[in-house]
Symmetry: C2
Subunit: 580 residues, 2 copies
């Protein structure tokens, strides 16, 4: 991989911008309009999930999309607020004792800056591999649990009441205390909104297709369900003065673009948000590149993981100066952008311009939007994130993976998002170490008349009483060297006639320093017992490393290219092999 700095790499817009033409422009504009229709209500709704004023969602979208267009490598990724990151933002802010929405916005800006700074740092240091520590099943379980928490947190708006809580238990207790104050009209509006959005996605689309409408246009119309519902609800609220019936409205949304302002860098705030920012960065990065990679692969395009870190990092830093909260590339929105035909990152830039236009001219209309309408949009969106199939699949496929999945889901639901995801990561790493700490090791013998060696407990093979042949089916590293040592000493203790041990290393892809020292220790112990230690079929790169070591110089036995040759050679030796 090219580690040098080049402006074309750091600013991918230089590369694609120089080939930009009318055809791509038309494609990008159409995609931008479709995405904006979807994004406007989403941006307002996710601000609500994050516990922030609605305009922050619009600001975050505007700045995120614009800056990603300069630095990002995906042509279709839509970088703006997403459900899970908004929930994590709420959890991070929930730990602080904040007084009013102004302080909350200030803290959210700092969080976005820290998260962006961390992503940028990882990108510049080319540490994108850190995202690999999150296993797929753990992420799936985390997203499902987060979606459940978000759904429960939105029930307050569906019922026109007020609840609080960071996990399922707190939310359910809070709900049970105030459910008696529920507002019937609000619940009715909410239920209607959900049904309408779902119908747009399913029935309307089918109907339009049946009427012979072009599939792309039909899909676009069906995707505008949330916007349509928002317009209907706001009109109803205005015409029927529903606020007088106890329906909560969105209220004043400031008109115009945000004033740029530096986030608050006070040490206390930074200290209390840093851990959350790291978690948000990693989850956001993994979510983003998963969709970016999937979409890129479908068009045989490529994304650059380290540059994606730079792109997402820069976007979040920009957002932190524009009064927003942490953002990342969202799944459903990016798919819409892809299917709408976005050709370059410019599509995101055009979406940002449309959002800016809304912010400049249309915020007074938002006053009349009932909060329950946004809650309905969120509920439909997060419902599609809930996927329990990972439980069944992992249970069937591997109990180890199931354990990690279960820990993640359970702790996220009952304690909260941060503990949940941290425990999930830890569990998957420990499980991996556990699995590789007990490698498959087989005592082998020769299949008569061939040069093949097979496990003595599965095949009828030739063995010798004073020769032990062992095949190691795993790389040797610190977590499994003790197991190997114990096994060899056990086999040696059980066989008093032993004169030779051969380790067959075909599947050994790595020998770390711990393993080297263990081999030295085994070699010395065997030497005292007058048993020779031999190696066979060591891979080239491993041999290169071993060749210069004391272990190799002091080895009592030999190093053989083939295991068969080792056995043949020992048969010729002064200690005759005796059949067993």
């Amino acid at each position: 991989m090219n580690k040098g700095f080049s402006p074309r790499r750091f600013l991918p817009i230089i590369a694609w911008g120089s080939h930009y033409g009318k055809g791509k422009f038309a494609d990008d504009v159409i995609a931008a309009i479709i995405v904006a229709i979807m994004l406007i209500p989403q941006a307002l709704a996710y601000a609500l999930v994050a516990g922030l004023p609605p305009e922050t969602g619009l600001y975050a979208s505007m700045f995120g999309l614009t800056v990603y267009a300069l630095f990002g490598t995906s042509n279709t990724l839509s970088v703006a607020p997403v459900a899970v990151i908004s929930l994590m933002t709420a959890a991070a802010l929930g730990k602080l004792s904040l007084d009013g929405s102004e302080q909350a916005v200030a803290a959210a800006m700092t969080l976005a800056f820290l998260s962006g700074g961390f992503l940028l740092l990882l990108g510049l240091l080319r540490l994108g591999f850190m995202a690999n520590f999150l296993s797929h099943p753990v992420i799936s379980a985390f997203i499902t649990a987060s979606a459940i928490i978000i759904g429960l947190s939105q029930l307050q708006h569906m019922l026109g009441i007020s609840t609080s809580g960071q996990n399922v238990i707190e939310l359910l207790m809070s709900l049970s205390q105030s459910v008696s104050d529920a507002n019937g009209i609000t619940l009715g509006l909410g239920t209607g909104a959900i049904l309408l959005i779902v119908w747009c996605k399913t029935g309307l689309r089918r109907g339009l297709l049946a009427l012979g409408m072009n599939a792309r246009i039909a899909t676009t119309v069906s995707r505008s369900g949330p916007l349509l519902v928002a317009i209907i609800m706001a009109s109803l609220a205005f015409l029927l003065r529903l606020d007088q019936q106890g329906v909560q409205l969105l209220g004043d949304v400031p008109k115009g673009l945000p004033a740029l302002a530096a986030p608050d860098f006070s040490l206390d705030l930074v200290n209390s948000l840093l851990g959350s920012a790291v978690l948000i960065s990693i989850i956001g990065f993994v979510e983003s590149i998963s969709v970016a990679q999937t979409l890129a692969a479908r068009r045989r395009e490529r994304i650059d993981l380290d540059q994606e870190l730079v792109g997402l990092g820069a976007s979040n830093i920009a957002v932190s100066f524009g009064g927003g909260f942490p953002i990342t590339g969202g799944f459903s929105r990016s798919v819409v952008n892809f299917e709408a035909g976005a050709a370059t990152p410019a599509a995101g830039l055009f979406t940002a311009i449309l959002i800016a236009v809304v912010t400049l001219f249309f915020t007074p209309v938002l006053y009349w939007l009932p909060k329950v309408c946004l809650a309905a949009i969120i509920l439909v969106a997060v419902y599609s994130l809930i996927d329990f199939s990972v439980f069944r699949k992992s249970w069937q496929y591997s109990r180890a993976d199931f354990t990690a999945v279960f820990i993640t889901l359970f702790l996220t639901l009952v304690i909260g998002v941060e503990i949940g995801i941290a425990a999930g990561v830890l569990a998957s790493i420990l499980i991996h170490l556990y699995k590789t700490s007990q490698p498959h090791v087989a005592v082998i013998g020769r299949v008569a008349g061939t040069e093949h060696f097979r496990n003595v407990s599965r095949h009828t093979v030739e063995t010798y009483a004073n020769l032990l042949s062992i095949r190691i089916d795993e790389s040797l590293y610190f977590a499994n060297t003790r197991y190997l040592e114990e096994l060899i000493f056990k086999l040696v203790a059980d066989n008093q006639k032993l004169k030779h041990v051969i380790l067959m290393c075909t599947a050994v892809n790595e020998v770390d320093m711990s393993a080297l020292e263990t081999l030295e220790k085994i070699s010395e112990a065997l030497k005292e017992l007058h048993i020779d230690l031999h190696l066979s079929e060591v891979k080239g790169p491993i041999m290169d490393k071993l060749a210069g070591t004391e272990f190799f110089r002091e080895l009592s036995g030999n190093n053989y290219l083939s295991h068969n040759q080792a056995v043949e050679d020992l048969k010729q030796g002064k200690v005759h092999l005796t059949s067993s």
Copy 2:
């Protein structure tokens, strides 16, 4: 491994006790005397390292040796105070604000109980594999750094001054402030003691051998250097009233056996010591089994790792009721026990009896022992623990291992033992994940005229323009699936003619759920591009797991037993392979 509970397994003394006879008794008694001579001054000295009154070292030895004899599986391990664990005890107690030595002893007892309880728990749950997370080089670096800190902390007694500090920086600053108060006579005694002990180990032994003395007796005599020096120093102090010259004496050591008392279980104390107890347990366990395994292997004996956890756990719990501090199997003392011919764990029991006799009758003599004498014993002992060769070796062998070693040494020295070892463990795990996150993957082609496939960039091989053969040289799991995905998508994006991809899986020892999902994703993406995905040479156990999955049912291509067969088969197919 037998997971059931059996009294013979849980109490190994039942097994070896039933064959106990006169011959073994004689061997054990001789070994016990030799070890006791070595252990008595050591026990006093390590109590000093732990910052506790000298008698606690005697109590810890007595209880530890006795209980290990009941539960332990090693015939030669000597379970009593050791340098590194005593230092870690000092570090753990140093974090508390303790008032006087009575509170320190109470806290040390709680620490021993927690450490013993954790070891016992791991043993009963058969979680001995946890010790594997400590790599050899990290342990080596940790022991070297600990030895340096212990050495520096003993300089105060060599100089007759008083210093404090948990790391090199604090100790050096403290030393520089009070070095002007150094007592010349103390320094003289200390230097003399060191020279005498070293001479006993080297010159005296050579001399005795030259005089024709039996090697075993010569070694025993040379090992009694510390005791000899202690007797000389105490006599000098008594005869010359050195205490009036500013030489610090050990002072009153209570006579008689300790009163049994339950440790202090107050929640605050337990909370502040729990983390330290876990670290002490793991380091102690690893140090102990390393020596136990080495010594057992030399005699073709075996130890049981899970039962060793039980033995060490029970010993520490016993110690916690007897007024001691955390203990474990020490290296040099166990080697002496081994070389002195200890035949069964009863040797330890006899050593404990000798220590009890000393405690009952000889403590008044200890009053006159100068502290500098113990410091000299400690300095000689820890000097042999310092081993910088691991730096050179790891630097030459692998920069990754060197990094972990360096982090451990550096942080232990400049911050302290707990941060140092925790960082070392974390570093080695992250480095392992990093290494396996970028597996070796080779594009392969057929060596003309053979059935062998080799890396295209190293060998002259046959390839086809519309066929991509990839050999994966690593198990597939969450940390490397993204790498594989990126690589395949890159190779696919670069080759527009591609119709078939075959993954050769000879070195794939594991496919976890993340890897399965990535393979599904790759398979789907390739399907959309009308490229077939095939597998070849999948190992049996992996095949068993894959067979039931949706990935396998939906696979566009086939699963071949041999890679050659795959290529031959595709040549016959409807899409003709075109030579490249």
